[in-house]
Amino acid sequence: MALFVAGALGIMLLVLFFNAAGIFTDYIVQIINISLINVILAVSLNLINGFTGQFSIGHMGFAAVGAYASATMTTLIFKVNPAMPGGYFVFIAALLVGGIVAAGIGLLIGFPSLRLKGDYLAIMTLGFGEIIRTVFNNIDYIGGPRGLLGIPKFSNLFIIFIATMLTVIAIRNLVFSTHGRALLSIRENELASELVGVNTTHYKITAFTIGAFFAGIAGGLQAHLLQIAHPTQYGFLYSILVLIMVYAGGMGSITGSIIAAFALTFLSEGLRTALPGFGDLIHVRIGDEWRMVVYSILLIIIMLFRTEGLMGMREMKLLVPEQEENHGQHA
């Protein structure tokens, strides 16, 4: 674990250095920032979908709650900006408030919806995500359909990186513990889990609440990076994109979610520039508009050849606690 933290911090310093040296443009750093936020979203959704085996497809709804809650606090209530003394304290507090409000909504949604299973739960979470979006669309105080504009740019690589690392560590610590094993047992066989004494309802709601908390943090970071919170950002499509990251990386693998979030974010951006160049090579005009076709084909290929995702249920060694290493694979 110490090695993981050291490695992650090393990579962050390297990126900052490359950026300062002009090797990484601001554009690349921005994509790294977005990738990191997607890591938080994917890892937290993985806790619900991959580890606990519940099928939630309204994850961006929680992110929207976090984004609007934190942006309201920084932009509308305290009117802070990064240049102000104490501005960052307000921002960090706003992020936490965003996470907590999202977790509260997660808890609220959890009670009625977790009576449902599988596809039914999916439809419920989908509906919930849309409700959240529509509610924000109709509150004039936070911009309504125009979106909440002029959010100060508090998010930077350093803060996003630390938040991502803390998320990964928290979820990893949870998963490799007796509580995490209770979550896994629900995925494996809910009835058997109940009959070895696990309060399955309690744990399903716990997973939902914790997943929502981190999604809320991610939403807050994103709003303060893009400097806008707009209802269309948190639509069904983005939720599906996060879901794809979880599946492509491997259900129940934190490592997989990290890799997939980076790979898919870079892929979708990279195709923007790579495709026209590729077209010149084969003398067929391929424009930016073909990006999503190629992207989708690549996803189909991943699913065909690695049905269980890139990592399956495995974790990289750096993330496995020492006392667990002696016990072979965990999940």
């Binding site: 509580h179 494996e188 889990s193 009959l195 070895v196 004494g197 716990t206 016990h327 072979g328 999940a331």
Partner: protein, 227 residues
């Protein structure tokens, strides 16, 4: 002898179908009883009623004179009833050790007195909550070590320690049955319900199973009801 588990005039309907009618059972402490009947007689339904999967339409079910009617299945487990399933329900993609550790889970975060159980094998149970595990506190490490050690001891007793790190679904059938029994035992039950544990076994395996069941009754001092 004290009655460990008693069912009185238990009747259960599935819609209009009477699956169990006026069923009575007195299970003395330390007994090893069998429940027999033809296919569809309602044996498994009785197990499901005792473990709280169904609530009986009429009648009373008492564990050590405490009614378990209306309690949730996990609460009944906490009171001291454990079971296995006719069609195996192991946690397939988890390791054998984790299968057992999950069954030890509920004891953490509970006081020493779980229900009114008779056997309190582990004197000190370490309390650990979500925050302990997220922040990896001392408490967490203590609880985790206790759970792991107890699970290993149990696997050693049941002679499954050679496959401790195997993925559960990769085990041969006989060992899966054993694992399910071990997992039920890990909840420290007073009453163990075995639903056709010998189904699909060859004569050699059945002999081994009977030895195991006697071993369990004698060493763990629990009451066993099997179909």
């Amino acid at each position: 002898m004290d009655s460990m588990l008693s069912l009185e005039k238990v009747t259960h309907y599935f819609g209009g179908l009477k699956a169990v009618s006026n069923f009575n059972l007195e299970l003395p402490d330390g007994a090893l009883y069998g429940l027999i009947g033809p296919n569809g007689a309602g044996k498994t339904t009785i197990f499901n009623l005792i473990t709280g999967i169904y609530t009986p339409t009429q009648g009373t079910i008492k564990l050590m004179n405490e009614s378990i009617i209306g309690k949730k299945p996990y609460q009944i487990v906490h009171m001291g009833v454990a079971r296995t399933f006719q069609n195996l329900r192991i946690f397939g993609s988890l390791s054998v050790l984790d299968n057992i550790r999950i069954a030890r889970h509920y004891t953490v975060g509970k006081s020493k007195h779980i229900g009114n159980r008779k056997h309190k094998e582990s004197a000190e149970l370490v309390h650990t909550n979500l925050f302990d595990s997220i922040f990896r506190t001392k408490n967490y490490r203590k609880a985790e070590k206790q759970i792991t050690d107890e699970a290993k001891d149990l696997l050693h007793l049941i002679k499954l320690d050679d496959v401790i790190d195997e993925q559960a679904k990769s085990l041969p059938y006989g060992k899966l049955r054993k694992l399910e029994i071990a997992r039920a035992l890990a909840t420290h039950p007073s009453v163990l319900l075995l639903d056709e544990p010998a189904a699909g076994m060859n004569p050699a395996e059945i002999g081994e199973l009977m030895d195991l069941i006697h071993f369990i009754r004698d060493n763990f001092k629990i009451t066993i009801l099997l179909i």
